[in-house]
Structure formats: C-alpha cells, structure tokens
C-alpha cells in the first residue's frame, strides 16, 4: 500500500497540470478573441466581486496581467485561431466538392449513343427475319436501360446482384451483335448478390473490355466476370483476352471516374487494379470493402 500511494499521486499531479494547462490555453484563447469593451466590463464585475469577498490584492493583478497579455500576444493568437478555422472550413468544402463531383460523374456515366443505335438497328433487322430473337434482344435492352439510365437508376441501394444482371443484359446484347466474336461467362456466388455495391462500375469495366479489348480484335474473344469474398472486401474481376492495353492511350473518363468515386466513397480501403497477364488481354479488379 505504501508503494501504491506515490503511484497515485504522480498521475493525479500530472492530470492536474494537464487540466490547468488546458484551462490556461482556453483562457488565453478567450482573451485573444474577446473584444476590449467586454474584457473591461468583465474585469469591472470581477473587481466588484473581489471587493465584496475581500480578495483585493490578487484580482486586480490578474486583471492587469490579462490586459497586458491581450495587448501583447492577443493579436497573433487571434489570427492563428482564425487561420485554423479557415483551413478546417476549406478542407470541409474541398471534401464536399469532391463528393458532389463524384456524384455528377456517376450520373454522367452515360449510355453510349453508338451502342443504343446499333442495338436498335439490330432489333429492326431481327423483327423482319427472326421475330423471336428480336423480342429476346428487346427484353435485354429494356433490362439494361432500367439499370443504366441515370434518371431511373435507384439511388443509394445498389446491390452486387443488380450490377451483375446489368452486365449480363449488356453482354447478351453485345453477343447478339458480335455473334461468334464474343463469348462470356459470369461467376457470382448467390450469397454475395445482396451485398451493397456502387453502381455502374463493373459495367464500365465490361464496356471498356469490349470497346478497347475485343471489338477492335478481328477474331474477337472472351470476357469473364468473377466475384468473390476476400479479407473484409468484395473482389470483382473483369478479365478479357483482347488486345490488352495501349500504354500510350489516355486512361479514359471511365476508369478515372471509378477511381475518383472509390476515393470519395471509401478512401484508401477500396481500389481498382489493372493487370496485364503475360498471356495477353487485361485483368481488372475492383476491391470494395464490406
């Protein structure tokens, strides 16, 4: 017990010092910001109270030193406080602006007119030659538009399952158009389909794979979409065996858009990684925290 006592005293002493330090700085900040007239008024009240209580000697000293501190260091401290507040505000504004920009960007992740008109041309042709097939492609197009049109897209509760279905509708349409030049496979376990997942990201990767990897390749190729649960994250891979990446081509709005949205939504916990396997093609992965 004897050894226990100093052990208790020391932390108490330290916390007392800590508290008085904090109070002193609070007092100092208050001094810096408060207006002169208010300080005079408060000092006057204090002097009266001190007079009544008989603390005549300490309080006038305190009041005098307050005046001295305010006139000597108050201005600098006041400027510091104002600068701090401004920088906090600026950070907040920058963050808000980025969230807004990312939202705008996701709205702008639009349907390519080229895709829409070509698909309508296909349906037009099929109506005359294979009406049943026309009706199937028409159904895929409706499914695609429901999920892809920004005006209709449901806000805030996008699920992995929906995103995969959107890609499936898109790939079905592209397959009807490109025929034997495109094949695809999708592997998304049932239990993952209800996880929340940001909209239009997998779709953008799939569109990229078709546009830059497979469409320009004369013999076409294969796209595989796979989802699995990693360590506290969902990983969605989009692999193709197309032309791969042109190292001198710009990143494109699609990919930088995804990156910006991931940063705003998840900070550094999410990532988009791009790999080029030695066998050719491209291998893109989205890592989204659960």
């Amino acid at each position: 017990m004897d050894t226990g006592k100093p052990n208790q005293v020391l932390p108490r002493l330290l916390s007392l010092i800590e508290t008085s330090k904090r109070l002193w700085w609070q007092f100092f900040d208050w001094l810096a910001v408060v207006s002169w007239s208010y300080l005079v008024f408060v000092s006057f009240i204090c002097l009266i109270i001190a007079g009544i209580l008989g603390l005549g000697s300490i309080v006038p000293l305190l009041v005098f030193s307050s005046f001295l501190i305010k006139s000597l260091a108050g201005g600098k401290r006041k400027a510091e406080i104002a600068a701090d507040a401004a920088s906090v505000r600026a950070n907040m504004e920058a963050l808000e602006r980025r969230v807004l920009e990312a939202e705008m960007a996701s709205l702008q992740a639009q349907i390519e007119p080229h895709f829409l008109f070509n698909t309508l041309a296909l349906i037009g042709q099929l109506i005359e030659t294979e009406p049943e097939q026309a009706s199937i492609v028409h159904g895929h197009l409706i499914k695609y538009l429901r999920a892809a049109l920004p005006q209709i897209r449901e806000k805030g509760n996008s699920k992995l399952g929906q995103q995969i279905e959107l890609c499936r509708a898109y790939l079905n349409i592209m397959q009807a158009r490109m025929q034997e030049r495109l094949s695809f496979s999708i592997d998304c376990p049932k239990e993952l389909q209800h996880y929340a997942f940001p909209p239009m990201m997998i779709q953008t990767l799939v569109e990229n794979a078709i546009k830059h990897g497979l469409e320009p390749k004369t013999e076409g190729g294969h796209i595989h979409i796979g989802a699995h649960l990693g360590e506290s994250e969902i990983v969605v891979d989009v692999n193709d065996n197309g032309l791969g990446f042109d190292l001198q081509a710009n990143e494109g709005i699609g990919l930088s858009n995804i990156r910006e949205r991931l940063k705003v939504l998840y900070g550094f916990r999410a990532a988009l990684s791009i790999e080029v396997p030695e066998t050719g093609g491209a291998h893109l992965s989205l890592h989204i925290p659960v």
Binding site: H114, F117, Q125, E128, E251
Partner: protein, 260 residues
C-alpha cells in the same frame, strides 16, 4: 441499262443483312455482289470484283472504314454507314460522299439511292466526280488523322511487376518517380511500385508538360505539387498533395519554380 453493283462492309452480320434487305426493297436492280466483316476482307473482295458502290461501316475491328475508304474512292462511290459519329456527319455535310445513319430508315435509303443513281448515270469519269476527288481525299486524310491528332504520343501507363502479374498504373495516379540505386520507385497516393526503367527513359517518354525533372533523382508530376518552400539552407523543397514525403529541388532546377 447497265446493272450496278455494290459491296457491303460492316462487322455485324445482322446489320449487313439489314442493309441488303432494305436495298432490295428500294433498289431491286442493284446487285449486292458481296459482304465483308472487316477491312482486309473488303479490300480482297474489291480486288476480285470492283463494284460501283461501297457501303462502308466506320467503326470496325482492325482498320476503320475511314482508313480504307481511299482504296475505293477513285473508282467507286463510297457511302459511309455509321450509328453515331458526329465528326463524320460534320465532314459529310460537305456533300462529297453520302452517309447513312444506323438504324437505316427506308426513306433515307431510297433518297440516298436516287442520288447514287444520278451520280452513276453521269458516268464515273465525269468532271463532277473527279473535281471532288481531291476534296474527298483530303477530307478522309483529315478524318483519319483526327483520331491521332497529337503528333507525339506519350506514355500514359506504367507497367510494374507485382507478384506474378504486371500491374498497370495510370500516369494520372502517379505523384512522382524517384530513382533508387537499382530501381525507380513509382509513388501514387496509395502505394509505391518499383520499375526498372530509368528516370532518363521516363523523362523522354512522358509528357514534359506533365512531369518535371526537379532533381537528378526525382521526376515530379507538376499537378501534384502543393507548395514550394525554402528550407534553412536555402534549398527549395516541394510538398506533394496527399502524402507526407517532401522532394528536394536541385540547384540546377530551381529556375522551374521562380516567382512571377
């Protein structure tokens, strides 16, 4: 009357059928002698059977329709078929060649065919056609090159080995390159990669407006610099947006950061 011939070039089989079908309706006398799914097949077919009219899709795998149009333009009339390409439409407003928008409307196609018939009845060697030939060629050359308008191409992706694969990092993500003894390290906001390319090679291949050499061992993205400060020894030190590391500017490069 002589029977005119045509060739349809489009990478999508359904759309070739569609056009053939429509042509049969609006111009039954026209003989479509062939279809091609890509540029090389089209050129081969054309060599075997030179036709009067070539219906040419613009977006195709391999070479685009615009790139190969010059092969046909001297002896045949080219009609571009496109789903949506505003730049193409603009150019064809000049009236040199006709163009069709997909999905192809019947009325529009019959209008196009009438124009083609008029043009063909004048004979392919008429002054009208040859006068336009150079215009058309110039126009096509411009269109073809408009896709690669920047004369010099810069490296936009950095390949870094990660595990068994090769990771691609967009230059828009990169904050700076720094040379170690053996490797060059590539710094992004999130992580760091090592590559074998030297700073000198990178400096030559990257856009010089985007990346500045500020030190023998550092190549910095200009857009990532948040401030330039002088330290106690009078050396300029760069702060980089989003990360803590600072980069020193060597004496030879201080002119890059002078006050205006």
């Amino acid at each position: 009357m002589k029977k005119f011939t045509a060739l349809i070039v489009d990478d999508e089989a359904h759309l070739r059928q569609h056009l053939r079908h429509r042509l049969l309706q609006v111009w039954p006398e026209l003989e479509v002698i062939g279809e091609a799914a890509n540029a090389s097949t089209a050129q081969q077919l054309y060599l075997e059977h030179p036709v009067d009219i070539v219906f040419l899709d613009i977006r195709m795998p391999g070479q685009s329709g615009i790139e190969i149009a010059t092969h046909f333009i001297e002896k045949s009339i080219v009609v571009f078929v496109t789903a949506y390409d505003s730049y193409a439409i603009e150019a064809f407003e000049k009236g040199a060649v006709d163009y069709l928008l997909k999905p192809i409307e019947k009325d529009r196609l019959s209008h196009c065919c009438k124009r083609l018939q008029e043009r063909l009845s004048l004979g392919s060697n008429s002054s009208l056609v040859s006068n336009h030939l150079n215009d058309i060629k110039n126009c096509l050359v411009q269109l073809g090159s408009s896709q690669e308008i920047s004369s010099k191409k810069y490296l936009r992706w950095i390949q870094a080995g990660v595990g068994n694969g090769i990771r691609l990092i967009s230059t828009s993500e990169i904050l700076y390159f720094r040379s170690d003894e053996k490797y060059t390290s590539v710094r992004t906001e999130q992580s760091e990669y090592l590559i074998r390319k030297t700073l000198k090679e990178l400096e030559d291949e990257l856009d010089p407006h985007e990346f500045w050499r500020v030190h023998r061992s550092a190549l910095v993205k200009v857009g990532a610099i948040s401030s330039v400060l002088r330290d106690e020894k009078g050396k300029q030190v760069l702060s980089i947006r989003g990360i803590q590391e600072k980069i020193e500017v060597s004496r030879n490069h201080t002119h890059l950061f002078q006050q205006m």
